[in-house]
């Protein structure tokens, strides 16, 4: 089971998903993120999914869940780096990823977060 590293840059937590996530890794990521948000008081979360080639409803739900958890800590989540093929799949599956914003890349994601506060 791989642990996904969470980096803190200023007021933002940065998560880069490079591998295909299995169930346990996802649960661990969600827990780690919740802990980090609680201890750091970060106001924003950026999840970079450039490395994710295949997205299914499971991953979609995971991302929405992370968004909801973050909001409970008064932090906003931005998903960045979605591949075109993944975007098309999500649209076809009817997954709207409610509760999270999306941006083209980490830089734009930061702009959104900083624009907020």
């Amino acid at each position: 089971m791989e642990q996904v590293p969470i980096l803190k840059i200023g007021q933002t937590l940065f998560v880069s998903i490079q591998i295909d996530l299995q169930d346990e890794s996802v649960i661990m990521l969600q827990e780690d993120l919740a802990n980090k948000l609680a201890t750091t008081g970060a106001r924003g979360v950026i999840i970079d999914i450039t490395g994710v080639e295949i997205v299914d409803s499971f991953i979609g739900r995971m991302l929405s869940t992370i968004g909801s958890v973050s909001r409970l800590f008064d932090a906003e989540t931005v998903i960045v780096g979605m591949r075109p093929a993944v975007a098309i799949t999500l649209t076809e599956l009817g997954l709207s990823l409610s509760g999270v914003r999306t941006a083209l890349n980490a830089e734009k994601g930061l702009e959104i977060l900083n624009g907020k506060h």
Binding site: A85, A87, I88, L90, S96, T102, L104, K108
Partner: protein, 273 residues
């Protein structure tokens, strides 16, 4: 009478009268092509076919039937590409019967042989028709692919603003292509605004609207906002009467209006010089 013996006898007869028959066959076919192919070329093609047909009749070996089929298919495809009608190509085969018949009419007792031969020629003639159809189908399918590619460009309107002018009907295949191209372009340019112009889309019904909404959703996942432009008055009325909702997607009458909106959102203003 045993089929193979019949075939063998016919094969022998054909070999015996090869020059005369091929000559007459060439004559008939050359007349039929009306000068589009030279007599020498025709003779060469027909001689090859003649040899194969003879071998098939004589059941010379197992592969020769396949070889004959392949040679005929090649011939048919070539004719199809050069604009011959399938009838013309098939007639080219059928005239062999005529050529043989002229000769064999005098030779009594060759009826079963000729009938078997005739049946073979009929099959071959039909085969040319099939090959012709297949060739045309391939051309049509290639053209359809080319047309699909041609009609979905993605253009850059301004820094960070791209446009997709849609021309023609928007079906699921087209939508898939549009989505892929639009998203690839968004990634490549980092644009945060896309204008989808539907001036060239003749009818907008619920299916087309669904496709547009899907495309906008996908673009939003990549952080880009979309505007739909080119809503014609009649189209607007149709959309309302069908009860289609575009939700929070901005829609404008013209590409110019959409560009103005996009510039405004980007915090830009156009001023006179």
């Amino acid at each position: 009478m045993d089929v193979s013996v019949t075939g063998q006898r016919m094969a022998d007869y054909l070999r015996e009268h090869q020059d005369k028959v091929v000559g007459r066959w060439t004559e008939l076919v050359t007349t039929g092509v009306h000068g589009r192919i030279s007599a020498d070329e025709v003779r060469r093609e027909l001689s090859e076919l003649y040899a194969l047909i003879t071998r098939v009749l004589a059941r010379a070996d197992d592969h020769v039937a396949g070889e004959l089929r392949a040679t005929l298919d090649e011939l048919s495809r070539g004719r199809a590409r050069n604009g011959f009608t399938p009838s013309e190509t098939a007639l080219g085969i059928f005239t062999l019967k005529e050529a043989v018949h002229e000769l064999i009419a005098d030779a009594a007792g060759m009826v079963p042989e000729f009938l078997a031969f005739s049946q073979l020629i009929d099959d071959l003639g039909l085969g040319t028709f099939e090959a012709y159809s297949a060739a045309r189908e391939q051309i049509i399918s290639d053209q359809a692919t080319a047309m699909l590619e041609l009609s979905t460009p993605v253009v850059r309107l301004w820094k960070n603003i791209i446009a997709v002018p849609l021309i023609g009907t928007l079906d699921s295949a087209r939508t898939q292509l549009v989505m892929e191209k639009l998203l690839d372009e968004l990634v490549a340019t980092g644009a945060d605004h896309a204008v989808i112009d539907i001036t060239g889309v003749p009818t907008v019904d619920t299916e087309v609207a669904q496709h547009l909404l899907k495309t906008v959703s996908a673009a939003r996942l990549l952080g880009a906002e979309c505007t739909i432009s080119g809503i014609r008055p009649q189209v607007a009325q149709t959309i309302v009467s069908l009860g289609i909702e575009f939700g929070d997607i901005a829609t404008k009458a013209s590409l110019a209006d959409a560009l103005a909106l996009a510039l405004h959102k980007a915090g830009l203003k156009v001023v006179p010089v």
